[in-house]
């Protein structure tokens, strides 16, 4: 049975059962406040990330720009941008989508919304302190884990609150059969606290000695971007694609296979070849990275077969566009990562802009785009309102899509060129660096487009809330006048 269960079945109300049914509207009502809070602050952080990213990008146009202020130096605004994107947007949007999906797939109300709201508060206080800390020079010095201790402790407890609410919701589910997405989302719930506490304990609280720090940092960064983002992004996509297209996922078993191979192979990769560590580490890493081809191809086949021949009465559904682009970016970035881990290619791409291009394609192209799609699908249900201006949603899609393409493509191409030039000892180093400048400058266009997209994203969400607030104000007023009428 579980093999053929589809989300449309599991959500459809009305199938007679002993337990009283909870309607989708009731579930949405239970999720409304906490999930909207997570989405809104995520939208705020992704805009903040753009702001820092543009400042960092400007340094490649003119190194003297804003050089007089220590807090605007490249080495501070660059990590501020990446941390705002990963922790401010990524984790919050991911958790919001996760909670909504777990509640709906379990056909149960969100458990303990106050716990989520408390967690949200802790998380945002932590991220805010952390970003200010990085700008002020308190970065820990570990890439992807720059947020200082006074930020990571509240963030960890915030996650525990939100995660616990997710677990409770899962536990009290009324639909006992599990849909494939629940595997992904449940694993993600466990994954983050383990890697985050482990990395923070061993790197920040009681640092291990020497180059082990770099190994643990690489392990953490890989687990966060490949596994956590992978689990949440794919979990959401495997629910939303069938839901929007009204076709079942092509293969449930292929989805399960993706789950197993992703958590096993995905968690072992990304110690670069040539690193000053015992040789077996990069060797094992490369082996595992090549094996991640398996889940990548499984996703490609599954999504392609699900969408194959879909003509699309819902063709212009913006959520589907975002998610379809996200899946394409997942496959492409996965192939880039496999390529870059191979011996010969890694000798070219190591230490070049190819690596951040691939990383951004995972974090933004795949994960953020999938989350945008999921948010555009979920928010109208939460607020029971349609977006005022559907054109603005479409505009966000085109800006984000063009933005990430114009960001990642020049960096990837420029990175390969840079790597080839670096490996030619006759090319002076300064020429290698100046050779990358046109590509870096081109990628600023991408940064700008994405920033405009994020502004529109925030306005879309805020516009819906204003509409909702206006409507509830009206009803409250009319109730008031009625009550007043009765009294008089």
């Amino acid at each position: 049975m579980s093999a053929t269960i589809s989300p449309s079945q599991s959500i459809s109300t009305g199938s007679p059962q002993a337990v009283p049914e909870i309607s989708a509207a009731e579930i949405d009502a239970s999720c409304r406040a906490p999930v909207m809070l997570l989405f809104l602050s995520a939208a705020g952080w992704v805009l903040a990330s753009s702001f820092f990213g543009i400042i960092a990008s400007l340094k490649f146009h003119k190194p003297v720009m804003l050089a007089d202020y220590s807090w605007l130096t490249y080495g501070r605004v660059h990590p501020a941008a990446s941390n705002a994107l990963v922790y401010g947007f990524g984790l919050q949007a991911g958790l919001g989508v996760l909670l909504w999906l777990v509640a709906h797939l379990g056909r149960t109300k969100l458990a303990s919304a106050p716990l989520v709201i408390a967690g949200w508060l802790f998380w945002n206080v932590g991220v805010t302190l952390g970003i200010l800390g990085i700008i002020g020079g308190d970065s820990t010095g570990y890439e992807m884990l720059e947020l200082p201790r006074y930020a990571s402790v509240p963030m960890f407890f915030g996650y525990l609150g939100i995660g616990l609410a997710g677990m409770l919701t899962f536990h009290q589910r009324r639909e006992r059969e599990l849909y494939i997405s629940q595997w992904f989302l449940l694993a993600a719930l466990f994954w983050f606290p383990w890697i985050y506490s482990s990395a923070n304990l061993l790197l920040v609280a009681k640092p291990v000695r020497g180059v082990m720090q770099a190994v643990i940092d690489a392990w953490y960064a890989n687990n966060l971007t490949t596994v956590w983002f992978g689990l949440v992004g794919l979990g959401a996509a495997f629910y939303l694609i069938p839901k929007i297209t009204k076709r079942p996922l092509a293969s449930h078993y292929l989805g399960l296979f993706t789950f197993w191979t992703l958590i096993i192979f995905g968690s072992w990769s990304r110690v670069p070849a040539g690193a000053p560590v015992p040789a077996w580490l990069p060797a094992l890493s490369t082996f595992a990275a090549v094996l991640t081809l398996v889940p990548i191809l499984a996703v490609a086949v599954n999504v392609k077969q699900t969408l194959c021949g879909y003509s699309g009465s819902e063709g212009c559904n913006p959520a589907l566009k975002f998610i379809a682009f996200g899946m394409a970016a997942y496959v492409l970035s996965g192939l880039m990562s496999v390529g870059a881990s191979l011996g010969r290619v890694s000798k070219i791409t190591n230490f070049t802009w190819f690596v951040p291009a691939q990383m951004q394609l995972v974090i933004y192209g795949f994960f953020a785009m999938t989350m945008f799609g999921a948010i555009y699908y979920i928010v109208p249900k939460l607020t029971q309102r349609e977006f005022c201006k559907p054109k603005m949603v479409a505009a966000h899609f085109w800006l984000a899509m063009l933005g990430i393409v114009l960001y990642a493509a020049p960096l990837a191409i420029g990175g390969v060129k840079q790597g080839l030039a670096l490996n030619d000892a006759k090319t002076p180093f300064l020429d290698v660096v100046t050779g990358t400048l046109p590509f870096l400058r081109a990628s600023t266009t991408g940064d700008l487009l994405m920033a405009v997209g994020h502004l529109i994203f925030l306005m879309n969400l805020a516009g819906l809330l204003v509409k909702l607030g206006h409507a509830s104000y009206k009803t409250a007023m009319s109730l008031n006048t009625k009550a007043a009428g009765v009294a008089s």
Binding site: S70, T73, G75, H78, S139, L178, W194, L203, A275, V277
Partner: protein, 238 residues
Amino acid sequence: MNPGPLVFLATFFALATSWLGFVVMPQLQIGRQQQVEIKDTGEMYPARRPGLAKQGEEVYRANGCYYCHSQQVRPLGFGTDVARGWGARPSPVQSVAQDYLYDQPVMLGSQRVGPDLTNIGLRQTNEVWLLSHLYNPQLTSKGSTMPPYPFLFMKSKLALGEKPSPNAVFVVNGPKENYEILPTDKAKALVAYLGSLHSEAIVFETPPFPSTNAPAASTNAPVIATATNSVPTNSPAK
């Protein structure tokens, strides 16, 4: 059947394997490394950083220098690190785990927007050059893409006839006013840290080239000399 526990077990199993493999195992292997004695000189390697250089490490971390500068020379045959004069070991193996024992945090870097700094302490021994480079890279390396760091310096006006401080990086005699550029404590610490960056000692993991090994025990001294000579002092590989 309730598959919930199965998902939990799968996750636990996969993550525990990865954690054991990439956190616990390497920690058991290299986590307890100690200083070693260098045969030829009898010195302990790596040396602990003196206080000022340790403070400079904090400046290096706070300002994120490692986003553009790596501190990791790859072995011979992996890229052109050695040919570019970034390595200082007379060995096919360059950076090894032993080198980073007292780095806190270890900042290997992942990008080469600027040159590798593993051996900058050998390559550039002129402190005034380094200070000028930090104040404004264009002064020392024309065309450099590195941003200037004026916030690590103080600009101090000089009265007519006043002698500049001996610490001044340089003095500007403008038409209207004279002033000198003084390094802050942070700039001095950062330069001390850069000076402490060197890994040329031959250790167990970096066997010397067979040819250099043959004529008796080669000391470290000539090694340093060749390393510094390979790059002219005033035009380091930018």
